[in-house]
């Protein structure tokens, strides 16, 4: 293991040429969102009475939830199973999860027709325990709150004893600082409640997301219609958690010209082949029990996508990540992780869009340019916020000596040491 690493805010220029491109995409998406809120879903989307859900649900929400699984999986391994060495990656994963879920919420808000009623599932007289979507909704709402609580210590760490508001409101410096101190103490004591809750809530809604389409037996393609769907969703979400951390960690280190944490990431990626193996076994068992293998080999669009999902998204990364030689290179790690993520994304799109066949539609749904722009805009916004957060808050860990040499603000280091 390399020298002791501590998380610090990254001091670099925010806008690089790449970031400017992302920002442009974000602006285009923002126009799409504005257009949608002003003129309605019909003006922006290709949705109709046959296809009630499009890519905003399939990608923004369903893939968003799955890919934010890095948060609870790393929290579980580092905090619950006490694998201390993974602490360096919990913060980036937590940040991704927090931002990811925030955008899931935002994605839902864009997609639902009466967005101002989004809080309705919280009202006890509207609770609808029969609905898997209600379960997803309430869990996501709770979990996003839990994530904010989990992230709050990082905010405290950044600002405690250093609250420095400008001008008149400077009088509030003291009280706010006091609140931060109290919050720090309380959260230190009860932090574990949120960590475990985060895992349980994730288990619940990751699986319930898979339950959603189980309600549509007559309109689903047999390759994807299975009562095991919730379990498959859960396992695949757990499986994609670490690859997602690997993926974003490598990307972030590239972007900030840092050294990728290859040993830690490789060690994390060890678990992935087992989880993928479990997923593959369940999937094969499910196909066999339901006797739908013929559909796999009918070489239709559906069967090709299904095979791509399993071969490229599960089997190939399973092989890459289980070979130590590949796993310990940046290229191998990145390829393996990207394939797993691609597999999960493809799976979610397949379940929500490809497998779903309305009764009377002659033409399959394809997202409009605005739908694609809004989705791309959301992803861009996520990237931009992530970049901003890691520059403001101590999220990404760097070797202690480097930090000491570079950072003028030693209190960060001091705080972190205390926290440990």
């Amino acid at each position: 293991m390399s020298a002791h690493e501590i998380p610090v805010p990254i001091k670099q220029q925010y806008f690089t040429p790449g970031v400017k491109v992302v920002f442009a995409v974000f602006l285009a998406g923002a126009v799409g969102v504005a257009y949608r809120f002003l003129y309605g879903l019909g003006a922006v989307t290709n949705l109709d009475n046959g296809y009630g859900w499009g890519i905003w649900i399939a990608i923004d929400v369903s893939c968003g939830v799955a890919l934010a699984a890095g948060g609870f999986t790393t929290a579980a391994i580092a905090e619950i199973f006490h694998k201390e060495k993974y602490h360096v990656i919990t913060r980036p994963a937590l940040l991704t999860a927090m931002l990811g879920y925030t955008f899931v919420g935002f994605g839902v808000m864009i997609d639902i027709g009466r967005w101002y009623n989004i809080w309705h599932p919280m009202l006890p007289d509207m609770w609808q325990g029969n609905s898997a979507l209600f379960e997803v909704g309430i869990c996501v709402m709770t979990y996003v709150t839990v994530l904010y609580f989990e992230f709050f210590p990082i905010v405290i760490e950044r600002f405690k004893s250093r609250v420095n508001l400008p001008a008149i409101i400077a009088v509030l410096n003291k009280p706010i600082d006091g609140i931060l101190h109290i919050a720090d103490k309380v959260l230190r004591k009860i932090g574990w409640v949120f960590i475990i809750a985060g895992v349980v809530l994730s288990f619940a809604h990751q699986s319930s997301l898979g339950t959603l389409m189980v309600l549509v037996p007559t309109k689903m393609h047999p390759l994807w219609y299975t009562h095991l769907s919730p379990l498959l969703f859960l396992i695949s979400a757990i499986a994609v958690g670490f690859p997602m951390v690997v993926f974003e960690s490598i990307l972030a280190s590239r972007s900030f010209k840092l050294k990728p944490e290859v040993p830690i990431l490789a060690s994390l990626a060890r678990y992935t082949p087992f989880l993928l193996g479990l997923y593959l076994a369940l999937k094969i068992g499910d196909l066999t029990i339901r006797e739908v293998w013929p559909y796999v080999f009918e070489f239709s669009t559906e069967s090709w996508l299904f095979m791509a999902e399993l071969v490229l998204g599960v089997i190939v990364p399973m092989i890459i990540l289980s070979i130590r030689k590949y796993r310990r290179t940046v290229g191998g790690l990145f390829t393996g992780a990207t394939l797993v993520i691609g597999g999960v994304v493809l799976n979610r799109i397949d379940v929500f869009l490809v497998a779903y066949k309305p009764l009377y539609q002659t033409k399959a749904y394809f997202p409009s340019i605005w739908e694609i722009l809004v989705t791309a805009g959301c992803i861009s916004a996520l990237i931009l916020l992530y970049r901003a957060f890691v520059m403001i808050f101590p999220v990404i860990s760097q070797p202690e000596d480097e930090v000491a040499g570079r950072m003028d603000d030693t209190s960060v280091k001091a705080n972190f040491s205390k926290a440990r």
Partner: protein, 386 residues
């Protein structure tokens, strides 16, 4: 350590697997009860009477057996249907015209599915009357009228506008509509003539010509038009949207013939030239004037293929004997001498279809033709042969 590590996952897997089993599907079974047959099957009340049978919607087919053929002269020429006077003017229903058209099809029962002897009840006597409100089994008067009218009327015009029959009352908002000149409403149907025969040229090469003896089939077998012209309702000729030609499969072309001729060879109907109609003479049993008036089934067993019958009189006329047979029905009243003789004295070996033998008594080569044993008569008695 491993087990501890995976316990949560194992727990969730188990819970979900269990739920998977629970939610598996199977088809629930239903008890099927056999039908109960009792008075309530057709009657609503406990004591049905002739005046008030309180019938459920019995199937029309089951009621038709009570139908009695009524003469057209009994029927009213026209009637006014004025239940909706608030919204529409009364509908002038030309009963006579419709009855005439019904005669081409199924007679009065086309509409009057319940028409006992004497009194034909009008629709409103049963439908929508106060005696059986909310009877799900029976359309109300509105439904009954509309079904009678529209199920035919829409078939040729495809028009279901209210104003086709209902002229809006003054002051209502319903738009009037100009009369449609293509509509056949109100026009008497010309008399349909029955052809004697129809000659078809078919693509069947070994015998391209089929001669269908139309009149013969009607006369011999007593067919009504609708027995064969089943689909030929009003719209068959008058449908404004009817496609110009409809190609039929070989099966469809032969369907009606095959009702009876299913076991026949092609050559039964197909020939290279036009055929004459059937004559009993060709069978070796020219029909006499008595037999000529009978329909085929009086002698040939019904429901079976027509085949050769025994020529012995007694095979049909089982009751005939020396005592009760009046020879006059053959066109010859026997004189006193011959009437005292035994039948077999002249008709040796009971061969009644062959010439009687005179030479047993007479030596002069006479025959029954040259010297009749009695008086030939022109108008014989009628009863004995029937």
């Amino acid at each position: 350590m491993i087990s501890k590590k995976y316990m949560p996952a194992v727990a969730v897997v188990m819970v979900l697997l269990l739920s998977y089993l629970v939610s598996g599907s199977d088809i629930s079974q239903r008890d099927s009860q056999g039908p109960k047959i009792d008075c309530q099957e057709c009657h609503i009340c406990d004591v049905p009477t002739g005046r008030r049978p309180c019938l459920k919607t019995c199937p029309r087919t089951a009621m038709v057996h009570q139908a009695v053929k009524h003469d057209l002269s009994e029927a009213p020429d026209s009637m006014l249907l004025d239940e909706l006077v608030d919204e529409y003017q009364a509908v002038h229903f030309n009963h006579k015209l419709h009855a005439e058209m019904a005669e081409m099809g199924g007679d009065c029962v086309t509409c009057h599915h319940y028409s006992p002897k004497g009194h034909i009840p009008p629709c409103k006597e049963c439908h929508g009357g106060e005696e059986n409100p909310n009877n799900l089994n029976q359309p109300t008067l509105k439904g009954a009228y509309h079904r009678q009218c529209l199920s035919c009327h829409r078939e040729w015009s495809h028009d279901t506008k209210c104003v086709v029959c209902h002229i809006p009352a003054a002051g209502t908002t319903i738009a009037d509509h100009p009369p449609d000149s293509t509509d056949i409403m109100g026009i008497s149907h010309p008399v349909i003539t029955e052809p004697v025969k129809k000659v078809y040229h078919t693509p069947y090469e070994p015998g391209e010509i089929v001669t269908f003896q139309h009149k013969e089939h009607i006369d011999l077998f007593g067919f009504r038009c609708v027995d064969c012209h089943r689909k030929e309702n009003c719209s068959y000729c008058h449908d404004i949207q009817r496609p110009a030609t409809t190609s039929k499969t070989q099966e469809e072309v032969h369907a009606i013939c095959n009702d009876c001729h299913i076991d026949d060879e092609c050559s039964k109907c197909h020939d290279v030239k036009e055929r004459p109609g059937f004559s009993h003479n060709t069978t070796g049993w020219p029909l006499n004037r008595y037999h000529n008036t009978l329909d085929c089934w009086a002698c040939h067993p019904t429901g079976k293929r027509i085949s050769k019958l025994s020529k012995m009189c007694a095979s049909c006329h089982a009751g005939w004997s020396q005592e009760n047979f009046k020879h006059a029905v053959t066109g010859l009243r026997l004189d006193e001498v011959h009437s005292e003789m035994d039948c077999s004295d002249c008709h040796t070996d009971n061969q009644y279809d062959e010439d009687p033998v005179c030479s047993d008594c007479h030596d002069d080569d006479r025959t029954a033709e040259s010297a009749p044993p009695g008086m030939k008569i022109k108008h014989p008695g009628t009863q004995s042969s029937r």
